[in-house]
Amino acid sequence: MEYEAVIGLEIHVETKTKSKMFSDAPVDYNAAPNTLVSPIDLAHPGTLPLVNKKAVENAIKVCYALNMTIDETLYFDRKNYFYSDLPKGYQITQDKRPIGKDGYIDLNVDGKITRIRINRVHMEEDTAKQLHIIEHSLVDYNRAGIPLIEVVTEPDIRNGKEAAKYVEMIREIVTFTNVSDGKMEEGSLRCDVNVSIRPVGREAFGTKVEVKNLNSISNVEKVVDIEIARQKAVLEAGGVVIQETRRYDDGLKETISMRVKSSAVDYKYYPEANLVPIYIGRDFIDRVIATCPELPTTKRTRYEDEFKLSQFDIDVLLANKDVCEYFDQTVKFTKNYKIVSNLISGEIAAFLNKNQQSITELKVEPANLAKLAEMIAGGKISNKQAREILEHLFEKNQNPELVAKSLNMVQISDEGAILTLVNSVLDENPSVIEDYKNGKDRAFGFLVGILMKKSQGKINPSMASSILKQEIEKR
């Protein structure tokens, strides 16, 4: 039987703020355990929650990026359950009225656009971090109360590739809007996947299995496909899929059952009376949106329509926010977008990679990189020369024109000069011309090689090649 998968994702994003969601304790992921804790975070009796404005602004930005309807009033609810990492015995979250609802995002998977509907975006607080060591459980309350933004899709995703693309898009959004550093491996972006399968054509959903805490985008794709395959195998063997929570084991390369959900846990949601509904108003929302950095989707369209970059180039640039920023800075000084993009994803990426550096540490100023691109585009230097100049720029930020001059490196692009050079080479090699005319293709390359050698690599290769061709034909 043919099956299709029905997949929904829940993503928790730790959002960048100076202090926690409901207290004034500072947020710092590198601080020693239990040093950034207020009585509010420890649920000392009589403490009351305050709402972090920055966290609300960040949530609004995510809503904006996902085309959500944004609520002009904030409502908070309590989710009640006992757990050792939950100091209050309840989590303050948004249940009935999330800040954002009914949005969507368009995924471009292999050139095909798929629209994924977003059910809701809501704000809540993180729990404490736990470390279980043999018989002991250690709790770090630094994490208790850190603001989270949760993004929940409708079950519109159909395979691992789409799921991974979706997570990538969300990561892109939260990093480009400065809402989060979006690091999956460090837990600042956490992803739970709900997977079920059903025979193609059937409307009713199959039994849903939740797979928890996937720690990289490539894992998302892998794990979803593995889980789909597992469920297929279960059904094909005549078994039934049970409703449970599983986790991915990187060593075994399979999903492992964590707990079976007999029935849904009753969290006894009810309104948080210590936070009366807060009217934020349309003006506030509009102000936040107005100050929101350019969305990655807008950037993509701009790169594609205005800069005529390829999908591949765009993906490479958008994979890293800082790289993208560097590109944007550079193209303020030049219109040679493709050349800049190539330099960044080629030589510069290789250099950074080799030296384990990030682009923010790069010595080359965008203006100088732009100049280099102009030189290449104007035929003043060859690509090989450009590479050589870059090596100098990596060492010390300087004007590439001056570097080229000091290396005596200006490319021969003057038609007359090239013509003279070409004819002198042809005069010296009549037998090679003969070979060429007899159909030996290699002969042409041989002549180009001699030209390059003679000009010490300074001859403009494309001009040289076309003039050479034209002059051979004349003989």
């Binding site: 100091p87 006894k268 936070l275």
Partner: protein
């Protein structure tokens, strides 16, 4: 001279005149408190109080600060930095807060002198003063110790009625200040929800909770609100509404419209209360007040208690879920965290509290929430609408604060009291609607006090004090003293 039985105003006058120093007053208050026969005290801070009093006595009197050097007690569900605060529950044994409640901080700034903490019904849940971990708190008006003081602010009512201090802080979720005030012959005040910061008040049911207090006169109640009212950025539910000069109230009642609710005010069974209650009405009318009966649907009045019980129990289960032994309090060890939480809560709460948690949790369960919790919320809304409607045409609702004198201990339990379903529970209207409400003594019945209650529009505290002061003037029952026998 007996200084601690004076009102704040009187004591302040003596300070200003230089007739007595805070040290002498505090010493006297401590001597009395040490001989407490009512079982009203939790952790006491006598040494710090003496230190502070010594310090103040060596400095000039702050003439414009009526709370300067005034001793007081604090209900033990209000956070006090460095002083054990257990809310009369075993589960909090050993819990020493890191911070002062906003109200405590404000009183400190004004140089009022705290003598310590007072007993309550465990975690403020209850109205008898019987359920705290130290056992019964007694009513000083009844030397035979057969009658309750009421609760949950039992100890705070008792220390003021016993003449230890001129005022004490309490909290009021259903009637936890205003009911004991009736049984103790005191002024008991609860502000508009949001008028006084709740930061540091242990939550019972935040949508109903308010910090309140006991004084011996209406004037003293106004003096305290001057200091305690106002926005606190630590409590997002505290109001930005302008703070008034509450002591500048007028006692003229001319043209003021009073509503008496049918089924409450025409249904008084205690003959002494009935007589005095009606006398005040006659006198108020003589002074120009307009008194009218109004009707609130009987079904709503009948629903007052059950609505309150469902909402408060539901909120309380969540608000006390932090008491798990993991972070503070009297932890009972166990193999897993689940065992720790279970063992701690099993040992830490009394049966009454557990019963309330079970009821609260039951009413919040998904399959019951519509029928119980949400239905109670709807009933609450209907009640609030009905009350606010009355208050659009009338300035105050006037009623007896209790059906009669302080009940005998064996008469009260946590069970539904059908005999006085409405008369015993109607003060909760003030909590449902978040309205300011004050109880003042109206008579003594065989030496035992009974109070009346006045509830006004939101943020009408100043006018409320004015009208209450007029009643105080009519009854002459100000600064009631327990005869020392």
């Amino acid at each position: 001279m007996d200084y601690t039985t004076l009102t704040i105003k009187e004591l302040h006058a003596l300070y200003v005149e230089g007739k007595v120093t805070p040290l002498e007053v505090v010493k006297q208050a401590i001597e009395k408190a040490k001989k407490d026969k009512t079982n009203s005290l939790e952790a006491v801070t006598f040494e710090q109080a003496l230190e502070m009093a010594t310090l103040l006595s060596a400095t000039a009197v702050e003439v414009d600060n009526p709370l300067w050097g005034i001793p007081y007690f604090i209900k033990d569900n209000i956070s006090t930095k460095g002083v054990e605060t257990v809310a009369s529950s075993n589960i909090l044994k050993g819990y020493i807060p890191h911070f002062d409640a906003e109200v405590v901080a404000r009183l400190k700034t004004k140089k009022a002198i705290s003598l310590g903490k007072t007993t309550l019904d465990e975690l403020a849940m209850g109205g008898s003063g019987m359920s705290g971990h130290l056992g019964r708190t007694y009513n000083p008006f009844d030397p035979k110790k057969e009658r309750m003081i009421g609760g949950s602010s039992a100890g705070s009512a008792s220390v003021v009625a016993s003449g230890f201090v001129p005022f004490a802080l309490g909290s009021d979720t259903g009637d936890s200040v205003r009911k004991p005030a009736s049984y103790a012959g005191l002024v008991g005040f609860k502000p508009t929800w949001g008028r006084i910061s709740r930061y540091g008040l242990f939550p019972f049911a935040p949508s109903l909770d308010a910090v309140g207090y006991f004084t011996r006169s209406v004037a003293d109640a106004a003096i305290l609100l001057d200091v305690l009212a106002g926005r606190d950025d630590k409590d997002l539910t505290s109001s930005f509404e302008k703070v008034e000069d509450y002591t500048k109230y007028t006692t003229s009642v001319k043209g003021i419209k009073i509503a008496l609710i049918k089924g409450i005010s025409d249904n008084i069974s205690n003959p002494t209360l009935k007589e005095h209650y009606e006398q005040t009405l006659v006198e108020l009318a003589k002074r120009g007040a307009i008194i009218e009966y109004v009707e609130i649907e009987k079904s709503l009045l009948n629903a007052l208690f059950s609505t309150y019980f469902v909402i408060s129990c539901a909120e309380s289960t969540s608000n006390n879920a932090n008491l798990d032994g993991v972070k503070f309090g009297a932890r009972k060890e166990g193999k897993t965290y689940i065992d720790v939480i279970k063992n701690t809560r099993t040992a830490g709460f009394s049966a009454l509290i557990k019963r309330r948690f079970i009821l609260g949790s039951y009413s919040l369960k998904q399959e019951n929430q519509e029928l119980l919790f949400r239905r109670a919320q709807k009933a609450r809304r209907l009640i609030v609408e009905a009350v606010n409607k009355v208050l659009t045409t009338h300035d105050f609702i006037y009623s007896p604060a209790a059906p009669g004198v302080a009940p005998l201990f064996d008469k009260k339990s946590d069970n539904l009291n059908i005999a006085h379903l409405i008369e015993d529970n109607h003060l909760v209207i003030g909590n449902f609607a978040g309205l300011p409400s004050i109880t003042i003594p109206v008579c003594l019945d065989n030496g035992l006090p009974i109070g009346v209650n006045l509830t006004g529009r939101a943020f009408s505290e100043k006018a409320l004090f004015g009208f209450a002061a007029a009643i105080e003037d009519i009854t002459g029952l100000k600064n009631l003293q327990v005869e020392d026998k």
